[in-house]
């Protein structure tokens, strides 16, 4: 019977695979449509001249010209520098502070709910809101930050934070640290709670000091969690946009303009789609390279801790 034959051929495995593709197809199609296809388009755009303000120039293929321009573009190099500065500063502070907080919280058991709330609310707040909130705190001479610093005697005269290109980084970094450190602490805390308590007991019986316990038990076992936090934070910091756009607008001048904001301005303010696309591709390549590098690094770290 042909029906029976066909049924025989369509083994359970083939049926399962078919069902799997049916279930996955809509989501995969969505991702292809809204992420992969536009990415390809960006790459295509980046090799063309496309200036919405000057449509008479046409949209000719210009190869790598846009990329060459980017390499020569001082403002682009400056933006890249700002992004790196921001990334290194925030990630270092957040991981250091987050690690300290996680170690502290791992011991104390009272007020868990309060701690979780303190951690989650800043994380859940829109970045736009936290940017405005910290701008308000540091704003003008009457901002609460200035008032407190004068009260405590930290400074004699209140500085104006948002017009000096060096000082302005302090509220920017602080706002990011405030919003994200608790989240890092939470990730690391989860990693800490995964460490078997009997390991510490064994280390104590073996006569290990608190520092040695941290160095030889906690740190190696916490490494996967630290690396995950590091990946998340670096990639997020490198993509920073909302915070700076709202808090300083990249200013004063372009002294806090990160790469994402410069790209945005090129695209949607100056409407230079070709050049902007080339910048987009560069941002993408850097972020993707970072992610890949970390994942390889993370994989190595994992096997090491398991072995």
């Amino acid at each position: 019977m042909p029906g029976g034959e066909r049924r025989r051929a369509a083994s359970a495995e083939a049926r399962e695979a078919r069902l799997a593709w049916c279930l996955a197809a809509p989501a995969i199609a969505t991702i292809l449509l809204v992420a992969l296809f536009p990415l390809g388009w960006t790459v295509w755009e980046s090799m063309h001249l496309h200036d919405l303000r000057m449509p008479w120039l046409g949209r000719s293929f210009i190869g790598a010209d846009n990329y060459v321009e980017a390499v020569r573009d001082a403002r682009f190099r400056q933006a890249l520098g700002h992004t790196l500065l921001f990334t290194v500063a925030t990630v270092t502070i957040e991981l250091g502070l987050g690690c300290t907080l996680a170690l502290a919280m791992n011991r104390a058991f009272r007020g868990r709910a309060l701690v979780r709330a303190a951690v989650l609310v800043p994380w859940a707040i829109p970045t736009v809101v936290s940017a405005l909130l910290w701008r308000f705190i540091f704003e003008g001479r009457a901002g609460i930050a200035n008032a407190l610093m004068v009260d405590v005697g930290l400074v004699r005269e209140a500085p104006v934070w948002f017009i000096r290109s060096g000082l302005v980084w302090i509220p920017v970094v602080l706002a990011d640290v405030w919003k994200t450190t608790p989240f890092v602490a939470l990730l690391l805390l989860a990693g800490l709670q995964n460490i078997d308590a009997s390991l510490y007991e064994a280390a104590r019986i073996d006569g290990a000091s608190a520092w040695r316990q941290f160095r030889h038990v906690t740190l190696p076992l916490l490494r996967p969690a630290i690396l995950v936090a590091l990946i998340f934070r670096t990639l997020d910091a490198f993509r920073v946009f909302d915070l700076v756009y709202v808090m300083t607008g990249g200013g004063p001048g372009t002294s806090t303009e990160p790469i994402a904001l410069y790209t945005f301005n090129t695209l949607l303010q100056n409407l230079r789609f070709g050049y902007g696309s080339a910048l987009s591709v560069i941002v993408f390549a850097v972020v993707f390279g970072l992610a890949l590098g970390y994942i390889r690094f993370l994989g190595a770290g994992l096997t090491e801790t398991r072995g």
Binding site: E16, A20, A35, E45, R110, A117, V129, A147, L235, S280
Partner: protein, 271 residues
């Protein structure tokens, strides 16, 4: 100092550090405009509702709230439904190409939004979707879909596979098993994932800024960011709006905090 006490100090510092800016925002949002620019005092003397009143009468702040609810809600609904099916297949079913698919989803989740802004803008313009709800929901899927799938794969993997096997041996088809066994057990995970997706969508700024043209379709973050006038910054109203914008996500997150912490940290714990 003993270890326990050191921990307590750290927690007090954490709660103060996290909490004070929030406290200050709430207090200031109830402070009359004139007092906002005087010498600040930590304990408020006069509290008024002026800013909130202005927010909803002069500024029609309910418009961006409505827009945000529609956009974030639709994005979340679509992602949990479509992404849930995909996540189930990736977590449970055996088929070729599973590993590359998971890799693709992970890769897309690290895409910088800025890298796809320009083609999405050109695409939406061609489809006449600039300044419409679909014109925001569609771009939001770029980050929301991989996020949802990734979180749900984690949740589905935590469900014991033997339950589904038992159901199939008991005579349920795969789809029936999904409906009668997997779905009821996955509800907590789906809820947590939905909340996270909603929070991310509610907070999104770059796409909402790029693909809307005027107040009638702006979302809450864009509306607040564009409050600043030409000559002066209406801080009272901005802070009132900030409180209004934060309240729903903060309440959602606090109500489901345990689940959400699990969802957020699952990846880190497993490596």
């Amino acid at each position: 100092m003993s270890r326990a006490r050191w921990g307590t100090v750290a927690i007090v510092l954490l709660v103060l550090g996290s909490g004070f800016p929030l406290y200050w925002a709430i207090v200031s949002s109830f402070t009359p405009e004139a007092r906002l620019y005087g010498t600040p005092s930590l304990i408020p003397r006069v509290l008024v509702l002026d800013h909130y009143r202005a927010l909803f009468t002069q500024r029609e702040f309910w418009v961006p709230i409505r827009n945000s609810l529609i956009v974030a809600g639709s994005t979340t609904g679509f992602c949990v439904l479509v992404g849930g099916l995909c996540a189930y297949a990736l977590a449970r079913l055996r088929f070729r190409g599973k590993a590359p698919l998971l890799g693709l989803i992970l890769a897309v989740s690290v895409f910088p939004q800025i890298s796809v802004v320009s083609p999405l803008y050109l695409l939406l313009r061609r489809l006449h979707l600039i300044n419409t709800y679909p014109g925001l929901i569609l771009p939001y899927l770029t980050f929301a879909m991989p996020l949802t799938v990734w979180l749900l794969v984690g949740f589905f993997r935590q469900l014991p596979a033997e339950l589904e096997e038992a159901a199939m041996v008991d005579g349920a088809s795969r789809l029936r098993t999904i409906r009668e066994i997997v779905w009821p057990l996955a509800i907590p995970g789906l809820a947590a994932t939905a909340i996270l997706t909603f929070v991310y969508s509610w907070n999104e700024f770059l796409f909402a800024l790029s693909f809307t043209l005027g107040p009638e379709r702006q979302t809450v973050p864009v509306a607040i960011a564009l409050f600043r006038g030409q000559y002066q910054v209406p801080w009272g109203q901005i802070l009132a709006a900030a409180v209004v914008a934060t309240a729903p996500v903060a309440l959602l997150v606090l109500a489901f905090q345990r689940r959400i912490v699990q969802g957020l940290t699952a990846g880190a714990v497993k490596g």
